[in-house]
């Protein structure tokens, strides 16, 4: 019988301490397998001991000490089998190795290991969720709709490559840092979207991914508070997630931004996201480098969430932000989003002309047909609108979105 307060202490310790324990062990023992297994054993020990002995005054310290002891036990067993001599020597080294260079959190080094560009994207995602997020292999497999054995193999293979190819556990040099950090942010945003876009489905575990991505985003901001894009990504995720519950109706249908009940938005997340966006605006005004894609997306979301109703949205601001975004990322998808905002400012006719120029590049993309269908509907071109809805429905993967599109189509005169 576990007292609910002990249970929540264990959950909290898992969220707060898992990555620190794994990262500390990885640095000390130079082996991700040992780090991961020993950390997992320490949490099992916590589940057994804390209900009996009470929550230790310093849960993180307790977990690190316990995990270190588990790791040393394992190395000792292996040493007894006549192997791993060099590791056995490590057992007596109770002092943490002296930091070289500026003191950094072990977790930051591990972030860069897990998101190393020499690993396949799906391996980066899996390793990040396992080693930094503390999700179990079964949970990760479930969230990405693959067999548990497949996911286990993916993680094992990635760890084997890290070991064999000597992928380091450290923060990259100053000259590579920005680019490598962008790679880390891409992994976190992918995890977020995987959860967010699927959250319309019936599966709560996939939705857990958004929470996990936000936790990782917070961790990264703690570790790199001065990087504008790190802050921008966290703000973007908070402002997006704030609208999650308003995004799907009770009947499981997608609710678009203009039809959402804004009273259902999470005001605490919005306030936090707005504060981060303001912090970045101030930093850029004070001479920091111009905002990158995550800061711009966060700013766009801030404009939407500032508006008390869809009608009050400052569309000219949104068009300006998308135009800036198009200068750093001139992809057709950015131009599509810009055109959707242009429709609110200059009318559907102007926007349709812009969108139709993207037909060649975006014909296979459902959002392109959704935007076209809506503009054609507003221009009372029902026949063409219906055809565009048909195409969008055909291409949409998400069931809640399909339901919504079918209703819109069937409402056409």
């Amino acid at each position: 019988m576990t007292d609910p307060s002990t249970e929540s202490a264990i959950t909290r310790a898992h969220h707060e301490e898992w990555a620190r324990v794994v990262a500390g062990l990885a640095r000390r023992f130079g082996d991700l397998d040992i780090a991961e297994d020993a950390a997992a054993e320490a949490f099992v020990a916590a589940v057994e001991r804390w209900p009996l002995d009470g929550i230790p005054p310093n849960p993180g310290g307790w977990l690190t000490t316990t995990a270190t002891r588990k790791a040393i036990d394992r190395l000792r067993r292996e040493a007894r089998r006549g192997t791993k001599h060099e590791e056995a020597a490590l057992m007596n080294d109770e002092t943490p190795s002296a930091p070289t260079g500026p003191v950094t959190d072990d977790r930051l080094g591990l972030v860069f290991t897990c998101c190393h560009p020499a690993l396949a994207m799906e391996a980066r995602v899996a390793l990040t969720l396992r080693l930094l997020g503390g999700l179990t292999v079964a949970e990760i497999a479930h969230a990405f709709l693959v067999q548990e054995t497949t996911m286990a193999q993916r993680i094992t293979r990635a760890k084997a490559k890290i070991k064999a190819a000597h992928i380091p556990y450290r923060v990259p040099s100053e000259s590579d840092l920005r680019e490598r950090l962008a790679g880390v942010l891409a992994v976190i945003y992918l995890v977020f979207n995987e959860g967010y876009l699927a959250s319309a489905g019936e599966d709560p575990l996939r939705g857990e991914l958004t929470a996990e991505a936000i936790r990782l985003g917070r961790l990264l901001r703690d570790l790199q508070p001065d990087d504008g894009e790190v802050t921008g990504l966290l703000a973007l995720m908070l402002l997006t997630d704030a609208r999650r519950s308003a995004r799907v109706s009770r009947t499981g249908e997608l609710v678009t931004l203009d039809e959402q009940d804004r009273g259902g938005w999470d005001q605490a997340l919005i306030a936090e996201g707005h504060a981060l966006v303001r912090e970045r605006l101030a930093a850029v005004a004070a001479g920091d480098r111009p905002p990158g894609r995550y800061q711009l997306l966060a700013a766009i979301n801030a404009v939407h969430t500032y508006a008390p109703s869809a009608r009050d949205t400052d569309w000219s601001q949104i068009v300006t932000l998308y135009s800036r975004m198009a200068t750093i990322d001139p992809s057709p998808i950015v131009r599509l989003n810009r055109a959707v905002a242009v429709a609110e400012l200059d009318g559907p006719q102007v926007a349709l002309a812009e969108i139709d120029r993207l037909a060649g590049e975006l014909d296979g993309y459902h959002a392109f047909h959704v935007a076209r269908a809506d503009l054609l509907r507003r221009l009372a071109r029902s026949g063409e609108s219906r055809a565009a809805y048909d195409r969008a429905i055909e291409l949409a993967g998400n069931p809640a979105e399909r339901t919504y599109l079918m209703r819109r189509r069937d409402q056409l005169s």
């Binding site: 020499a118 064999a164 190819a165 000597h166 992928i167 380091p168």
Partner: protein, 132 residues
Amino acid sequence: MVSDMPRYLMSVYGAAEPGEFGSYPSKEAMLQSFADTGAFNERLEKEGHFVFADGLAEATTATTVDGQGDKPIVTDGPYLEAKEYLGGFWVIEAADLDEALALAADASKACRGKVEVRPFQTEESFKALLES
């Protein structure tokens, strides 16, 4: 003295039947690439990364031997049928993969080709293999 730095193989692939100037568009381009590669090799030596490097003759000159049976079987040509073949390689020592990848980027620029970086087995990984 045997270094305990990790070793990496950096391989470069090229067309099965290269043209007049190998895979280069002109003689000048070829000579310039040779000069750049030479300078890169000197840098590897100076910085303590160099173990070995060389280019190979055309893949069509390869011979494959299977000595596992009673009598060795000798076949004309490379072991694998491919569109591109190993054309040259380096063996280097580097502190870790990040350093090896940075060197590979420069190697790729010098030799005008994609470079595959692959770690060698280490004493430790070999031991782990024996114990598994």
